[in-house]
């Protein structure tokens, strides 16, 4: 085949440009650390990367939701734990008050402490977390336990509702994270009030019954607390699973998307060498001319 001067230049230019383009491609990959920088780099992988990125974001959201659920439950658990302490103390005081040897003034003394316990129990029912009344059902902005008198409550009404609060801890799984105040609290408060009143009235017989009632309420409360504790365990397990999934998804996305740096650097060097060779060839080929030899 005849070779014209134009075609030599054109071909050399083409070779150099091809080398440069291939080098630029590897440079982009090495620079960005990604082998898929745009859909056309690998259309199918792009689809998978997008789906997995959404799954990753959802995973992070579920982890956030689970942590919210965990903090909801932790606050509930602490309040119920405190309520159990209140009842424990009330139970002791009831037993102490039911002692037939005690006189009226001694019972008045005990009544003072029980009165404090009533206030504490009401306060625990009105526990707030992040500005929300956690035992008010969905009426989280309404104080759920309203005494008729703050100083000396005789009737305490529940102003919340019986609706659950839910957290989405995984796709489609909504975990109920609240204990509504209609459970246990009204009974506990009413029983504490009657204990106080019986102490004041120096009614030793009734106090005997009150001591039993306190024991029952304590069991109820502890049962509720373990219900919350079970949910906390479940959320905790879920969080561990979400973390495992997160690591796995990150690995999968990285497999699809990220370049193997060692490989891409070797390739980068190989292509640089190719370009240098092409440039070298161009330099030599362009110098070849009969004119060099005609003197």
């Amino acid at each position: 085949m005849r070779v014209s001067n134009n075609s030599i230049t054109a071909r050399l230019l083409q070779q150099v440009q091809d080398s440069r383009a291939r080098l630029a491609h590897v440079q982009e990959q090495t620079g960005s650390g990604k082998k898929v920088n745009r859909p056309s780099d690998d259309p199918a992988a792009t689809g998978r990367i997008m789906t997995m990125n959404t799954e990753l974001e959802l995973n992070e959201q579920y982890a956030r939701n689970s942590n919210t659920a965990l903090s909801d439950l932790t606050v509930s658990e602490a309040s119920l734990s405190n309520l159990a302490d209140v009842l424990q103390r009330a139970s002791e005081l009831a037993v102490q008050g039911s002692n037939g040897a005690l006189d009226g003034s001694a019972r008045q003394q005990i009544a003072l402490e029980v009165s404090q316990l009533v206030t504490q129990a009401i306060a625990l029912g009105n526990t707030r977390s992040a500005g929300r009344y956690i035992f008010a059902g969905q009426k989280t902005d309404t104080q759920p336990f309203v005494p008729d008198s703050v100083a000396n409550p005789t009737v305490v009404t529940y102003a919340g509702d019986t609706n659950g609060v839910y957290r989405e801890v995984s796709q489609g799984e909504r975990l109920n994270t609240n204990i509504t105040g209609d459970r246990t609290f009204p009974g506990v408060i009413a029983d504490l009030i009657s204990l106080r009143d019986h102490l004041r009235a120096n009614d030793a017989n009734a106090l005997q019954t009150d001591a039993d009632a306190m024991g029952t309420r304590l069991d109820e409360t502890l049962e509720l607390r373990s219900e919350v504790g079970a949910k906390m365990n479940r959320v905790q397990t879920g969080i561990t699973r979400l973390e495992d999934e997160h690591t796995m998804l990150l690995t999968l996305v990285s497999n699809e998307q990220d370049v193997d740096l060692a490989q891409s650097i070797v390739e980068l060097q190989a292509r640089e060498t190719t370009l240098q060779a092409a440039l070298g060839a161009a330099g030599r080929a362009l110098n070849l001319s009969l004119l060099e030899f005609l003197r």
Partner: protein, 448 residues
């Protein structure tokens, strides 16, 4: 044979070698001129003795011209498609943290946060911001695609102007070449110019052409003449009221030009078929999101206890926005599934975030995310196909061009060798003059 005949022969030889050397210098001078075909003098022995220049011809393979022009038209077509699709990819910004996928994901996660914390005004504001960000991103894509269509149209118009310039030039060259050919003069350089114009024309639009015996070339576009003899027929870009006032290409006699290859074909395909299809797909998804979110939102109650309000305004990606009733009014963002559940009920917000899982698109087989991922994969496939077709077409064009260069290109070494051959022939002819002169000298001066 008379002695003076020998002088005549020598003189013609001198002139012929000179002509050959002149042609070689012309070749050497134009070795790098684009589109130049090397020229060759045809020398022939004369019946009475001696040599003469019969003709000067360019060395050209017309079949290769035909092949390269056909390849050029495909390359122009694929090139336009590939470029447009690569710009679509650029606008989409996927896979990434700023594309529509990421923005949509953040939108639904904002609803999940609101569902966790329906009492909070700041989570409501975050939902509004995430919604606005989705609306802006969808609109930006809509605008990008629409702008790309408009740019394709601008380039169609520019190409039409260039085509008209080329056909006028070809018609003029036709006239000049025909005249030179009629008087037996050499029109090689004008033919080279015309061929170069034809090469460029074939990149812009696929044409048919026919070389005439009188040296002219007739050019046709979809059966309608573009150049006939020395006349050019201009194309006009007529605003098509039925198609966004985009250019429709017509001839002066109002026939619509039939274009099936070349850059214009690629541009028109992107403008009228590919991009509108992608816009429609974008609108399908955005329209469904607007409708679905609005339905769920209207069923739920705001912090103010009011329901039956839309979240988004608009109907598709062209006009999506936050509904003015909700915009700037976080308490109107509905999170509760019941009026009584305000403020602690987040089930309304959850019903909106659950839309992300629902498979409502493509005949209830595809979620928004799945739909969008396959949209993006489709763009990627189309773009990578167009790029590889463009590349392979590029290789074909280069290959044919190499073949053409092999025939028509100037090789300096070859020219130098021929130059020396002609130089020697010239020297020999000059020596011949000297010898004949010596003979005449012998005859006239020594015979006395």
């Amino acid at each position: 044979m008379s002695i003076s005949t020998g002088l005549d022969i020598a003189a013609r030889a001198l002139l012929s070698q000179q002509a050959a050397v002149r042609t070689i210098s012309h070749n050497i001078s134009n070795a790098t001129t684009p589109g130049y075909s090397r020229q060759r003098v045809d020398l022939a022995a004369m019946p009475g003795g001696g040599v003469d220049v019969i003709d000067t011809q360019r060395v050209r393979d017309l079949f290769l011209d035909f092949q390269i022009r056909s390849a050029n038209s495909s390359l122009g077509d694929q090139g336009a498609r590939s470029e447009s699709l690569q710009r679509v990819e650029l606008a989409l910004n996927e896979p990434g943290d700023t594309g529509l996928r990421a923005v949509l994901g953040r939108f639904f996660n904002a609803w999940r946060d609101l569902s966790n914390n329906p009492e909070s005004s700041s989570t409501r504001t975050a939902v509004l911001q995430a919604g606005a960000s989705f609306a802006v991103t969808a609109q930006r894509l809509y605008t990008s695609f629409t702008d790309l269509r408009a740019e394709s149209d601008v380039r169609v118009r520019q190409d039409v102007a260039e085509i008209n310039g080329i056909t006028t030039r070809v018609a003029n060259l036709n006239e000049q070449i025909a005249r030179l050919q009629a008087t037996g003069d050499d029109a090689s350089d004008l033919r080279d110019q015309r061929d170069q114009s034809m090469d460029r024309l074939s990149t812009l639009v696929g044409v048919q052409y026919q070389n005439r015996d009188d040296g002219r070339v007739d050019v046709f576009l979809g059966g309608h003449p573009l150049v006939q003899g020395s006349n050019a027929f201009a194309l006009t870009a007529v605003n098509d009221a039925g198609n966004n006032n985009y250019a429709q290409l017509e001839f002066a006699d109002a026939t619509v030009a039939r274009i099936d290859s070349g850059e214009i074909a690629g541009l028109v395909y992107q403008r009228d078929t590919d991009l509108p299809g992608r816009l429609a797909d974008l609108n399908t998804m955005v329209g469904a999101i607007i409708a679905d979110v609005n339905t769920a939102h209207a069923a739920a109650y705001g912090r103010d206890g009011v329901n039956a309000r839309n979240f988004f305004s608009g109907t598709d990606a062209s006009d999506i926005g936050i509904d003015p009733v909700v915009d700037g009014n976080p308490n109107a963002v509905a999170a509760s599934s019941t009026a009584a559940g305000v403020p602690g009920n987040g089930d309304g917000a959850a019903s909106i975030s659950d839309l992300q899982y629902a498979r409502g698109l493509l005949g209830a087989t595809s979620s928004y995310d799945e739909y969008w991922a396959s949209f993006i994969s489709n763009v990627g496939t189309a773009s990578s196909e167009a790029q590889s077709l463009e590349h392979s077409q590029q290789v074909v064009v280069e290959h044919i061009d190499q073949l053409r260069q092999a025939t028509s290109g100037v090789n300096m070494d070859e020219e130098m060798v021929q130059l020396m051959a002609y130089q020697r022939a010239y020297e020999a002819a000059a020596r011949l003059v000297q010898v004949v002169d010596g003979m005449i000298d012998t005859l006239i001066n020594r015979m006395a």
